[in-house]
């Protein structure tokens, strides 16, 4: 499973779940096929998606995914091929939902977001938890292109990283049922 790729720069804070997918698109019973609604609640959202077609990494500012618990936000991102969202912070429920749907929610320092927003592509190694960016810039003195390389480290939740890589949240819980029943009997007996 690949997590790096082309960047869609979403240079705004507090992108809420109503902007990611408006509630009038929550009328289905399946988690598939919601990509067509992605960012339709955001001013300029559909244009941004068209302009960065093929992008699979979103770089954005603080508090991404705030608001509703709707997992449709993660489903619609995943359906459009997004595998990574990089932000200085996430809302709790979106953060959990991302891990359960193959989307890596990567937290970096707010001061690093400007560089990442201007990157065309980002390579991501989930195993070593490192980001790598190469930006080509005209050199100010010489006038010829210069390649700037930036490396960042990040930390994922070690348990949820397993869910992210294997989609195994429900399988994990299913395997816990005997333990939960035993705990419950012990609690009842106490």
């Amino acid at each position: 499973m690949s997590f790096g790729g082309r960047v869609l720069p979403l240079d705004r804070a507090n992108v809420d779940t109503d902007q990611i997918i408006p509630a009038h698109n929550l009328t289905g019973i399946e988690s598939k096929g919601l990509g067509k609604h992605l960012f339709t609640g955001m001013t300029g959202g559909p244009e941004l998606l068209a302009r960065y077609e093929g992008a699979n990494v979103i770089v954005t500012r603080e508090n991404f995914g705030c608001g509703s618990s709707r997992e449709h936000a993660a489903w619609s991102l995943a359906d459009r091929g997004f595998t990574t969202v990089i932000a200085p912070s996430f809302a709790r429920i979106f953060h959990e939902n991302a891990y359960n749907n193959g989307i890596a929610p990567i937290v970096v320092a707010a001061s690093d977001i400007d560089v990442l927003l201007s990157a065309e592509a980002i390579s991501i190694d989930l195993e070593t938890e490192r980001l790598h960016v190469e930006r080509t810039r005209e050199s100010e003195s010489e006038g010829h292109p210069e390649v700037h390389r930036h490396d960042y480290t990040f930390q994922l939740d070690p348990l949820r990283k397993r869910f992210l890589l294997s989609g195994g949240y429900l399988a994990f819980l299913n395997a816990k049922i005997p333990d939960v029943r035993a705990w419950q009997s012990a609690r009842g007996a106490a």
Partner: protein
């Protein structure tokens, strides 16, 4: 070891500590509604033999669009209904339903010390009972239905002490908006807000629910109020609570459920609300709220201003409105309807005004008091219970550019309809604004009627 209220409830439900600060947390109650439940229920049916950990712990409620508005929402309701019936799950459906966060407490499904989860961010409402109640995604909800547990990062705990007497016309909604504006739209992220203080003790359960309902609007995992006699009186005699000695035995346990005096918190916030005035939101998140008397801040986010078509320094009072809405899990309980009716009694609304009770039980109780006559005499629409236009799904969605004053919880861009603009306020402020057709406090109505009276020739 001294523990906060949250820590006591948490510790009593941890089945297993897991890597990375996570825990396997037992869930006493799962609330399932038609928008976020079908996906997980179908997943369990397809891959886990349709088994549920304990169907008695689940309550299913068709609430968001009920009755259905079209074929798609009819299918959602049918999937929830069929699934509930197949598993013998308690079901509240058309005619006996309402917004899940209103139905759950009024039927006594929530109680102090309980853990409760629902695929709905406003589940934090139920923290008012001293329960650990939180919103989760559909997959997490499915896990709780399948295995009786959630995988959760242990949240930090912020003790929020509220002291002081609210000013005239200020309500729990104004308190909620004030706390969010103080804490910031994401200031509570990663925390459980543990409320305490004389102001909290004086609040009714309806008011505590309004306050806790909006904890998510500060990013908090949830909020909790310490259970007390107000909590116990509310729950006594509720449908899902036992009667007689069995209830009193539980009540004794709840009385003992409180934070230790020397409990240590990750953060402390002290909020003085003495003389607090009615609040109103001006921006595109609930943290962007100020006193109704105030002006749009000079350091306002330009994107919010552009969306709301407002300018820094502009007065909020007297801003012309296109619609008013009283409803939602924040402010649709009987006391909210009474507050709105007190303002509307003998007056007439001048803009389209929709009043949507929080449950069918609230609707009937309101009608027994004649509140439906007050609303309809005033020219407002009195509807059945539903989430309705709060989230732009049905029953009063805004047109692009329309400005609505609303007793709901979110003013996000497009929340009540693409391009619609939302100002959050208390039911009393919404009612007063509906009369004048512009943002107003109930006190402004007195000023208007006084002027009218003086103008009448003797």
């Amino acid at each position: 070891v001294s523990q906060s209220l949250f820590e006591k409830v948490w510790a009593a439900h941890v089945v297993e500590e897991l890597p990375g600060g996570n825990a396997l947390v037992f869930v006493d109650r799962v609330v399932a509604h038609e928008i976020t439940t079908p996906q997980g229920a179908l997943e369990i049916e397809r891959h886990y033999g349709d088994k549920l950990f304990d169907s008695d712990r689940i309550v299913a409620i068709n609430d968001h669009v009920s009755p259905a508005k079209d074929m798609e929402t009819a299918i959602q309701a049918k999937v929830l209904r069929d699934w509930a019936k197949r598993h013998g799950i308690a079901l509240h459906d058309i005619g006996q339903n309402g917004i899940c966060h209103v139905v759950v407490p009024e039927r006594g499904y929530v109680e102090p010390g309980m853990t409760l989860a629902c695929g709905d961010s406003h589940t934090c409402t139920l923290g008012a009972f001293g329960a650990f109640a939180l919103g989760i995604g559909s997959t997490a909800q499915a896990g709780a239905m399948l295995a009786g547990c959630l995988v959760l990062q242990r949240p930090k705990v912020m003790r929020v002490t509220i002291e002081g007497r609210l000013g005239h016309d200020a309500t729990a909604k104004d308190l909620a908006l004030y706390v969010i504006a103080t804490l910031g739209f994401k200031g509570g992220t990663g925390y459980v807000l543990e409320y305490r203080g004389s102001t909290i003790e004086a609040l009714s359960m309806d008011e505590r629910m309004t306050l806790c309902n909006m904890a998510i609007e500060a990013g908090a995992t949830t909020a909790m109020c310490p259970p007390d006699e107000t909590t116990i009186s509310y729950l006594r005699g509720r449908e899902r609570q036992p009667g007689g000695d069995a209830f009193e035995t539980k009540a004794e346990r709840w009385r003992a459920l409180k934070a230790d005096a020397d409990a240590v918190y990750d953060r402390e916030l002290y909020v003085d609300v003495d003389g607090l005035c009615p609040m109103v939101s001006w921006g595109t998140n609930p943290g962007e709220s100020v006193a109704l008397d105030a002006t749009v801040p000079h350091d306002a986010d330009p994107a919010s201003l552009e969306y709301m078509e407002l300018a820094p320094g502009q007065a909020l009072r007297s801003l012309p409105l296109d619609q008013a809405f009283i409803g939602s899990c924040t402010n649709s309980r009987l006391s909210d309807l009474r507050a709105a009716a007190d303002v509307l009694r003998g007056r007439t609304v001048t803009i389209p005004t929709i009043v949507t009770p929080g449950s069918q039980a609230v609707k009937r109780a309101a009608e027994r008091e004649g509140l439906h006559d007050v609303f309809q005499d005033a020219g407002a629409l009195w509807t059945h219970s539903s989430c309705g236009p709060c989230l732009g799904m049905s029953m009063g969605v805004l047109a692009p550019g329309a400005r609505c004053i609303s007793s709901t919880n979110r003013n996000f861009p497009g929340r009540m309809g693409t391009g619609g603009r939302v100002h959050l306020a208390s039911p009393a402020v919404v009612a007063a604004s509906a009369v004048l057709g512009r943002i107003a406090s109930p006190n402004d109505l007195h000023a208007v009627s006084a002027m009218t009276e003086t103008a009448v020739p003797a």
